[in-house]
């Protein structure tokens, strides 16, 4: 499936590790879809399934994020630099409800609520891992 250009959502993304990995990430496993890898351009979506939604509850932050399951492809664009990365959804997350109101900003523009998690490979393609979070636009 190709990465598209139809606007899907916008918000804040963080990053996480999954699959075979070093350190504390070694216990992370392959994620909800079973094939998540830190070294691949993968992502976690808060509405990957009903069971996922029940954990993440983005609606409690006013984010009625649509269902996109394992294997969905998204194009993630840094809100300021325009750097993009094409990802495949392989996990459920982040727990949006825990971070209502959290924002990531660049050049004075901010995106609110954590709506996406990216693997280190995907996150580093559009930003700096030590920033921990980025404002992004998401397309499909």
């Amino acid at each position: 499936m190709a990465c598209g250009s139809t606007s899907l959502w916008a918000g804040e993304t963080s990053w996480f590790c999954c699959g075979n990995a070093w350190g504390p990430c070694g216990s992370a496993g392959g994620g909800a879809c079973g094939n998540c890898q830190s070294s691949a351009n993968h992502g976690a979506w808060p509405n990957a399934s009903q069971a996922c939604w029940n954990i993440t509850r983005p609606d409690l932050c006013g984010e009625n994020i649509p269902r996109r399951g394992c294997g969905a492809v998204m194009n993630v664009k840094h809100a300021c630099s325009g750097a993009t990365v094409c990802i495949t959804i392989t996990d459920c997350g982040p727990r949006t409800k825990e971070w209502c109101g959290e924002q990531a900003c660049c050049n004075g523009a901010c995106r609110v609520n954590r709506v996406l998690d990216l693997t280190p490979a995907a996150f580093s393609a559009i930003g700096n891992l030590s920033s921990g979070k980025l404002p992004v636009y998401i397309y499909e």
Binding site: W22, G23, G82, A83, R95, N107, N128, L129, S130, G132
Partner: protein
Amino acid sequence: MSTRQDRSGLGRRRFLTTAALSGATIVGASALGGLDADAAFAAEPSLDPAIAKSSFVEGRITGITGSILEVAGSQGGHSRVQMTNATSVWKGRATTAAVIEIGDGLYARGVDMPDGVVAADAVWVNIVNLDTQIRGIAKNRIHLAHGQHELVGNVLADTSASYAGRGLTSDLSRLRIGQHAQVLGAWRPSDDSVDVVRISVGH
């Protein structure tokens, strides 16, 4: 992309590739660094649009030979990462390549060279960003649950916290047992603990 970003990105990446290809400008690992990773990448990655795809390397460092890091991938395989004068290094903070050790975990972003080496424009050493729950709080440590595993977080002099999405503060007194916490830090391979750089808790 702004003109400023174009200039900084192109300049940095061209310097990187030139440095990696020429060899003459590569310096020994102990003399590397001096560039602030946060400053260099705060707004955007320095990826040259003329280069279609950046490369990513993940794994444990198994050897350091001059400016080359030997990396064993967690999925198997082996990579060689070339440090250059333009490579930014993070290990708990923006630092230099002199602090990189065999056994460290690594994420690196760079560009493939013709000889198969990845010339790095940024390396992050032992960096973790973990979804945890606070299980205990001591003076210099925070006990965390990460999935099914217990984890010790070392509180450092410059550890900062963010509460409910607000700005960073050095005040850790509002952390509570039971809170979900995002921990950005540096893993210590020697004892499997994590130096906490930033801990964020929600509501």
